[in-house]
C-alpha cells in the first residue's frame, strides 16, 4: 500500500475532472455557490469552497453556465444554471465518463488476477 500522501494525490487527480461534470449536472436546477457545495458533498462529491467558487465563475465565462442575481431572500445570491451549451457539453462529458467506466470494467475483467 502506497503512503497516504501518494494515495491522496492520485485520488485528487482521479476526482478533479468529475467536479465539473457533477456541477453541470447539479445546476440543471439553479443554485448558488454554498448550496451547490452542500448538495455536491451530500452526493459524495466533497469539493473545497476555494475550488468551487472560482470554478463556477470560469464555467460561466466559458458559456457553460448562466447566472442570475436573486435579491428576494435575506441576502442577494448569485444563482447559476447549466446553459444550453453547457447541456450539450455535459452530454459529451457523461458519454466519455461512461466510456471510461466501460473500458475500465472490461480491463478489470480481462486481466487475470
Amino acid at each position: 500500500m502506497a503512503s497516504d500522501e501518494i494515495l491522496r494525490i492520485h485520488l485528487q487527480e482521479l476526482r478533479r475532472g468529475t467536479v465539473v461534470v457533477a456541477s453541470l449536472v447539479a445546476l440543471r436546477h439553479p443554485d448558488y455557490g454554498y448550496a451547490l457545495l452542500q448538495r455536491l458533498a451530500a452526493h459524495g462529491f466533497p469539493v473545497d469552497a476555494n475550488t468551487l467558487y472560482p470554478l463556477l465563475r470560469r464555467l460561466e465565462e466559458q458559456g457553460l453556465l448562466t447566472s442570475e442575481w436573486n435579491t428576494e431572500e435575506s441576502r442577494p445570491r448569485k444563482f447559476y444554471r447549466t446553459s444550453a451549451e453547457g447541456e450539450s457539453t455535459l452530454t459529451l462529458l457523461i458519454a466519455d465518463l461512461a466510456a471510461v467506466q466501460t473500458s475500465m470494467t472490461a480491463l478489470i475483467q480481462g486481466v487475470e488476477r
Binding site: Y32, Y34, Q38, A49, N50, K78
Partner: protein, 317 residues
C-alpha cells in the same frame, strides 16, 4: 472596526481584475456569510465560525489567482525547458568570456596580478547574475502574457550521437592530445626555429630563456608528457573521476607555478629576444606582458579545474 470577512474580501479583490471586482465581492461575501450561517446553525459560535470559514478558504492571494485564472508559478512547463536550455547555453560561455576579457584588460593596465584575476572573476559573476536575471524575467513575462513560442518540435533526430555514458569522446581526447604533443614539441623547437630572425646575421632567436634548459624546460616537457598520459587515462575511463580531477589539478599547477614564477622574475623569455624588440625591452612593457601571461595562466588553470569539478559532479549525479 472592520470584520475579518471585510478584510478577507478586500484582500482577495486586491489582485482581481477591476472590471469584475464588485460582482466577485458581492458573491464572495454572500458565500462566506452562507458558510458562517451553515456552521452557526450547527450550534457554533459565530466568531469562531468566521475564523474557521476564512481559514478553510485559505490565502486570499491564492483564491484571487483562481478567480483570475492566473498561474502561481514563475515559469511553467510550457516555457521551462526553453528557459533552462537558453540559460545553460548562455551561462556556459558568456561569463567566462567576459571574465577573461575583463581580466586581461585589467592586466594590461598594470602589474597587479591579484587585482586582474579578481576583476575577471568579479566581471564573470556579475555577468552570470545579469544573464540569469534577464533571461528569467523575459520568460516570466512570456508566461504571464501567454506568448506562443514557435520553437521547433522535438524530433528523434535530436537524440545525442554519442553513447550517453561516455563523457569524454574520442574527438575530445584526440584534440587535447594533439595540442599537447604540438606544445611539447614546440619547447625544444623554438630554440632553433622560432621564426624570429636575429638582428645581425642569420639564424633564429630562441623565444624562451636558454638558461632554463638546465632544469625548468625539461621539467615542463615532462609535465606535458604526463598530461598526455592523463588524457589517455581519462579517455579509457570515459569520464572524470576524483583521482583524475586531482591528478589533472596537480599537473596543471606543476606547469603553471613554474611559468608564473619564471615570468614574474623575468626569466622565462630569452634576454636576446627581449633586447631584439624596442617595445619589449621597456621594463613597463615587459611587466605588462608578464602580467597578461600570468593572469591568462591563472584563468586557464581555474577554468580547467572548475570544468573538471562540474563534469565530475555530473557523473556522480
Amino acid at each position: 472596526m472592520t470584520s475579518l470577512t471585510d478584510r478577507y474580501v478586500a484582500a482577495t479583490l486586491r489582485t482581481v481584475p477591476a472590471a469584475r471586482r464588485e460582482e466577485i465581492a458581492a458573491e464572495l461575501r454572500g458565500s462566506i456569510e452562507d458558510m458562517i450561517d451553515g456552521r452557526a446553525a450547527g450550534g457554533e459560535d459565530t466568531t469562531a465560525a468566521e475564523r474557521e470559514v476564512l481559514t478553510e478558504l485559505g490565502d486570499p492571494a491564492q483564491l484571487a489567482a483562481r478567480y483570475a485564472d492566473r498561474r502561481l508559478q514563475l515559469i511553467g512547463p510550457t516555457y521551462y525547458l526553453a528557459w533552462w536550455r537558453l540559460l545553460k547555453l548562455l551561462l556556459s560561455f558568456v561569463p567566462a568570456l567576459v571574465g577573461v576579457v575583463a581580466g586581461l584588460v585589467q592586466a594590461t593596465d598594470g602589474d597587479n596580478v591579484g587585482g586582474a584575476v579578481g576583476a575577471g572573476i568579479g566581471a564573470a559573476i556579475q555577468t552570470a547574475v545579469q544573464i540569469a536575471f534577464w533571461v528569467t524575467l523575459v520568460f516570466a513575462v512570456l508566461e504571464r502574457t501567454n506568448t506562443k513560442l514557435d520553437l521547433p518540435a522535438w524530433t528523434v533526430d535530436q537524440l545525442p550521437q554519442d553513447r550517453p555514458e561516455r563523457q569524454i569522446t574520442l574527438a575530445d581526447a584526440a584534440v587535447s592530445i594533439g595540442w599537447l604533443v604540438i606544445f611539447t614539441a614546440y619547447l625544444p623547437l623554438q630554440h632553433f626555429l622560432s621564426f624570429v630572425p636575429a638582428r645581425a646575421g642569420d639564424g633564429h632567436l630562441p623565444i624562451l630563456n636558454p638558461a632554463l634548459w638546465s632544469f625548468w624546460l625539461p621539467f615542463l616537457m615532462v609535465v606535458l608528457i604526463a598530461t598526455v598520459g592523463l588524457e589517455i587515462a581519462k579517455y579509457r575511463v570515459g569520464r572524470w573521476t576524483l583521482p583524475l580531477v586531482v591528478t589533472s589539478a596537480v599537473l596543471d599547477l606543476a606547469f603553471a607555478i613554474p611559468v608564473i614564477f619564471l615570468m614574474q622574475n623575468d626569466r622565462l623569455l630569452s634576454p636576446e629576444l627581449v633586447a631584439r624588440f624596442d617595445w619589449l625591452s621597456q621594463p613597463d612593457n615587459l611587466d605588462t606582458v608578464a602580467t597578461v601571461t600570468i593572469v591568462a595562466t591563472i584563468v586557464i588553470v581555474l577554468w580547467h579545474f572548475a570544468e573538471s569539478i562540474i563534469k565530475l559532479r555530473r557523473t556522480a549525479a
